[in-house]
């Protein structure tokens, strides 16, 4: 055990009255920070440091990288949803002028399980030659029976996606499936989570509500496609990749190609979205590296939009039967969910975690099933499980409130133990004007307005295997380094704020170097954990270099090092600020060109629950409550989301501008999920017919509601910075808040997503002839 000491942290919701919590922390860590009001840079509106580069197009993305001699790679993919590969002969392709390498990914006799499954890949001197090489591959596919629709796949006589022997055990989406689940036909499960006695809970209920909810398959639709430039050389491998996890990809590559870690480098600069789909190396990444190894030249592989939509991950579609039992006063007596979800040929369609955790209910049961269909594998996507899960449960809670004659907020006050969400409901209700909310469908006239609310829950995840370095150079300039990647959230700016806060400098004076495994491992940018994981060791490292610098300065100022503080670009004696030294002059006293400190994340705070080897869950759940105001035209079926008020917490807010931008993105993605997006599979051909961004409809500027963001400062005393993430919570509550608002507007519930005009007209009984 490392040495510790006991300190008192400020704790609680600052806006609602602050308390304290006393903890034992590692002795190497700095003392707790006070609330943001007493800090200089933390929690302030510091604009994104690379914002200018982004909006002027100067930012370099992986797809922009061109290396000398670089080859271009393309995939041959299965054209059929289910097929036996009868023949695969790549010799003619390999012999074509300009073709430098060919990789075979399936063998003759193999079963191919979805349209778009990679079969082979080529690398050639130009994309055009690569295309000609694909045409020269002699491949024969024998069509086999297939099923692409989840309901059809559940039928007893449905074509089987897997036979017993081939059912995947692991799970590419990163959620380990419970081992030993039964598989019947295309259905795997149920995975059961139970507490208490649900049957008795329902028997004891005064009222039981039951509903069936459906969510569609959503694709990640990152604006920057999955892309990699792999450069295999005799002395090691360098990979430029659009990835959410540089050091994870490095681990994967080292293991896969038998390379020592010190011969593998992974780099990412600008990144145009990941949302969970760029968490791993993936088949495309592996293939590009293999092609580079074979060709001895750099290889660029970037998926096109069709490939993005069919084989770059997706959020599983679900159907959920939700039952709630409650006493007259709203107290829940039982909650049961049976769900089916499809992640295509992959596992991981579970939605139960949200319901398991959010409300107090003694008797609980989820029965969850994965349904295989002949479609591209799903994977984690912004708030995986909880986003579809919230859509079902939050509508069921709304229904229960109505049946009980309770306001939806009052019901939640009774059953939701989270203090943060209670405060968020209060603030949000005030901002949206909840008191205006009328009875369902009460507006006269064809255009009806409504208000709705829904809640979010997410884990406060922390990566424990995380480190970073802070350097002070002899000219007084400062660097912060970590392999952590900025996937668009602005983590580099937050890092500059942390270092500036500690060293008494301005954020713009800190050079942040990230997105490169040459630097200490930064952890992944998924699970809303980046800020929570990277900022505490960064603060500790900055504190350590400052101490070292302070030793030199203290001598000059005739003070003890502990008497110094760093402020406004100077080191000064706390009791006598007139005795001070410019930061730059202090650095000039250094004996060497630079000093540096590398620190890693302390992981022995009490309350930490280790979930995976490198990851833990911190003290409390993250909250979030969103309110939506909609106008529904009952004669056209059009829903207009006019306003969303999003009230969230994420521990200590580090940068309000960036947080607002994350919440706006989450809300917009939620609007898109609620109203527009869906993967459309043609049942007769088994192909996705909207594998583009024209018929696959994403919300854009015109569809953006007025979004009002409120972020609480909810201190927990759980790390040296006390910061958590926001990206996923911001996405979870939006669709059910809109659905509840639509119900409030028209008095009819739309249980399925997306809520398109045809769905609204159908719900109103207005399809067909009048």
């Amino acid at each position: 055990m490392t040495a510790t000491r006991t300190v008192t942290f400020p704790a609680g919701i600052v806006e609602a009255g602050l308390g304290t919590v006393t903890r034992e922390i590692p002795a190497s860590e700095p003392p707790p920070w006070p609330p943001n009001a007493e800090l200089t840079w933390i929690g302030k509106d510091v604009p994104r440091l690379n914002g200018r580069e982004k909006v002027t197009g100067a930012t370099r993305y992986t797809v922009d990288i061109r290396l000398p001699g670089m080859l271009h790679a393309r995939f041959l993919r299965s054209p059929l949803p289910s097929a036996e590969l009868r023949k695969l002969d790549t010799s003619a392709a390999a012999a074509l002028a300009g073709v430098r390498a060919v990789v075979v990914l399936a063998r003759s006799g193999d079963r191919l399980r979805y349209a778009g499954q990679p079969v082979a890949a080529v690398a050639a001197v130009s994309p055009g030659v690569a295309g000609e090489a694909l045409a020269a591959i002699d491949a024969e596919f024998r069509p086999l029976p297939f099923v692409v629709d989840m309901d059809e796949a559940r039928a007893p006589d449905a074509p089987l996606v897997y036979d017993e022997a081939s059912v995947p055990k692991g799970n590419p989406s990163g959620f380990p499936a419970a081992p030993g689940l039964p598989v019947v036909g295309n259905v795997r499960g149920p995975a059961v989570v139970r507490r208490g006695d649900p049957a008795q809970g329902f028997a004891a209920a005064d009222i039981v509500v039951e509903g069936e909810y459906r969510t569609q398959v959503q694709t990640h639709s990152c604006l920057e496609p999955h892309a990699i430039v792999a450069d295999w050389r005799a002395d090691g491998l360098t990979v430029y990749m659009s990835t959410q996890f540089t050091s994870g990809v490095r681990q994967e590559l080292a293991a896969l190609f038998g390379l020592p870690l010190n011969r593998v480098r992974v780099v990412v600069d600008g990144m145009g979205g990941g949302f969970g789909s760029k968490s791993q190396l993936g088949v495309y990444g592996r293939t590009a590296v293999e092609l580079s190894r074979l060709a001895g030249l750099p290889v660029r592989l970037a998926l096109n939009r069709h490939e993005e939509q069919t084989d770059a991950g997706n959020r599983p579609g679900t159907s959920q039967r939700v039952r709630l039992g409650a006493k007259r006063d709203g107290t829940l007596t039982a909650l049961a969910i049976e769900s089916h979800g499809t992640a295509g040929v992959a596992l991981g369609a579970g939605i139960g975690f949200f319901a398991e955790r959010i409300y107090t209910c003694p008797n609980f049961e989820t029965l969850q099933h994965d349904v295989f269909v002949n479609a591209g594998p799903g994977c984690a996507m912004r708030g995986p499980g909880n986003t579809p899960g919230a859509h079902g449960l939050e509508q069921a809670i709304d229904t229960l409130a109505e049946r009980l004659g309770l306001d939806p907020l009052a019901l939640r006050d009774r059953i939701d133990p989270s203090k943060a969400r209670r405060e968020e409901r209060r603030i949000g209700a005030e901002r949206i004007g909840w008191s205006r909310r009328h009875a369902p469908g009460a507006d006269p006239g064809p255009v009806k307005r409504g208000l709705g609310v829904a809640q979010s829950l997410w884990m406060s995840n922390v990566q424990t295997n995380v480190a970073c370095e802070v350097r002070v150079l002899r000219d007084g300039s400062v660097e912060a380094l970590s392999s952590v990647q900025d996937i668009g959230t602005g983590i580099g700016t937050v890092m500059a704020q942390v270092v500036a806060e500690v060293l008494g400098l301005r954020p713009a004076e800190i050079t942040v170097r990230i997105g490169d495994t040459e630097f200490p491992p930064g952890g992944p940018s998924y699970g809303s954990r980046t800020t929570a994981s990277i900022t505490p060791p960064l603060r500790t490292a900055a504190t350590r270099v400052l101490a070292e610098l302070g030793r030199e300065a203290a001598r000059m100022l005739n003070a003890a090092p502990e008497e110094l503080e760093a402020r406004d670009g100077r080191l000064r004696v706390k009791s006598d600020p007139a005795r001070s030294l410019a930061f730059r002059d202090a650095a000039a006293l250094l004996r060497t060109d630079r000093i540096s400190a590398v620190e890693s994340r302390a992981d022995d705070y009490p309350g930490f629950r280790r979930r995976m080897p490198d990851a833990a869950m911190a003290l409390e759940d993250l909250g979030g409550v969103q309110f939506a105001e909609v106008a529904v035209d009952t004669e056209t079926g059009a829903i207009h989301v006019e306003r969303v008020v999003a009230v969230h917490d994420c521990g200590r807010p580090m940068n309000r501008l960036l947080l607002e931008s994350q919440v706006q993105g989450g809300v917009l993605m939620g609007v898109s999920y609620a109203l527009l997006e869906r993967r459309v599979m043609d049942r007769r051909t088994g192909l996705m017919v909207n594998a583009d961004l024209e018929h696959y409809k994403l919300a854009g500027a015109h569809d953006t509601p007025e979004i009002e963001v409120v972020i609480l400062e909810n201190l927990q005393g759980s790390s040296a910075t006390d910061a958590y993430g926001i990206a996923e919570p911001a996405n979870i509550a939006t669709a059910p808040a809109i659905a509840n608002a639509v119900y409030n507007a028209i008095g009819v519930r739309l249980a399925s997503l997306p809520m398109t005009p045809d769905a609204v007209l159908a719900a109103l009984g207005k399809t067909g002839r009048s």
Binding site: V680, V689, N690, K697, G700, K766, R769
Partner: protein, 335 residues
């Protein structure tokens, strides 16, 4: 996308004082030449291999094709190369043909309207997702059957949809047909023909592989609009899933004249996104003629507009949607 040559006949700009020369120049071009106006749809057609030209001829550099002007009699000529943004913002269009301005201003999105031309808009190919998918060799591409009729047809036609269920993709066309516009076409030999836009469009029963009567090496040079009588009223309404950057699920143009008593004497009701060509709702027109416009007559006409519709498995919501839009568009002409 196949390899092609790119021709940018800038030198024609001087020579082409009369646009007929453009067409003449086309004769010298390859059989496989295609024209590029804004290039918005062209790029998609190339990517989906619906077009595999040997040469792409850019019309951009040719002067005079984008002029919007009134002749002595007050008729308006809109050059085919005028961008959607220019047409929508033009004072003469806004003053005399507000339904056209509205239709165009609501089409696509601002960036697209800045580049896309009115000619290209009328000549864009349908956006049936099977047509645009190289993996589906459907009737319209010379294949054996229509995938949409028994497949995913939520965005498809509710009229004239027994053979091929595309909807005509041009929103501008909905308004222009209602305004009885004419197109001016320059043939290769320099001959000019004019025909009503309504007759220019070709339905699947006439030729399932084409959407209009444009001949090889013919150029659409202008759209002509009669000066509307002073008593003309008009409206265009659309409803989409997205509020921008998307085609409408349904759009409706109504152009009518009222006499001094407020009785409807002339009327044209056109539905867009309803049929393979802009769809004249003649029953609705009949229902309105001789009537005073009010809620009741507008509702009757709206119901009549949908008579004879044959919705498919996933698009019967369009009946209610069109009925609403027709009724509202009729009433909007009074506003």
């Amino acid at each position: 996308m196949n390899r092609f040559a790119y021709a940018n006949p800038a030198t024609l700009a001087e020579a082409a004082a009369t646009t007929g020369l453009v067409a003449q120049a086309m004769v010298t071009l390859d059989e496989g030449a295609v024209l590029k106006a804004g290039g918005i749809d062209l790029l998609d057609l190339l990517k989906s291999e619906l077009l595999t030209p040997s040469v792409v001829v850019n019309l951009r550099a040719i002067k005079g094709l984008d002029v919007i002007a009134q002749d002595a009699t007050g008729n308006l000529s809109i050059g085919a190369m005028a961008t959607l943004a220019e047409v929508a913002a033009h004072p003469l269009v806004r003053a005399s043909y507000p339904a056209l301005a509205t239709a165009i201003a609501g089409a696509a999105g601002p960036q697209l309207r800045n580049v896309a031309t009115i000619g290209g808009n009328l000549l864009q190919r349908p956006h049936c997702w099977y047509l645009r998918s190289p993996a589906h060799h459907c009737l319209r591409k010379g294949g054996g059957h229509c995938f949409a009729i028994r497949g995913e047809n939520q965005y498809h036609a509710i009229f004239d949809n027994h053979a091929c269920a595309i909807v005509h993709p041009s929103t501008a066309a909905t308004a222009l047909v209602a305004l009885k516009a004419e197109v001016e076409l320059h043939e290769a030999q320099g001959a000019v023909r004019r025909l009503p836009l309504e007759d220019f469009f070709v339905g699947p029963d006439d030729d399932i592989q084409r959407e209009n009567a444009l001949r090889p090496r013919e150029v659409l040079t202008a759209i002509r609009l009669r000066k509307p009588p002073a008593s003309t009223r008009m409206a265009h309404l659309r409803q989409g899933e997205k509020a921008g950057f998307d085609w409408p699920l349904a759009d409706v143009a109504v152009v009518l004249t009222l006499d001094l008593e407020g009785i409807c004497r002339e009327v044209c009701v056109v539905l867009g996104a309803a049929a393979p060509v802009p769809h004249r709702a003649r029953a609705a027109e009949q229902a309105l003629l001789g009537q005073r416009l009010d809620d009741a007559t507008a509702s009757d006409a709206a119901r009549a507009a949908l008579r004879g519709a044959t919705p498919l498995s996933h698009n019967d919501y369009k009946l209610a949607l069109f009925e609403t839009l027709v009724r509202r568009a009729i009433l909007a002409t009074l506003a």
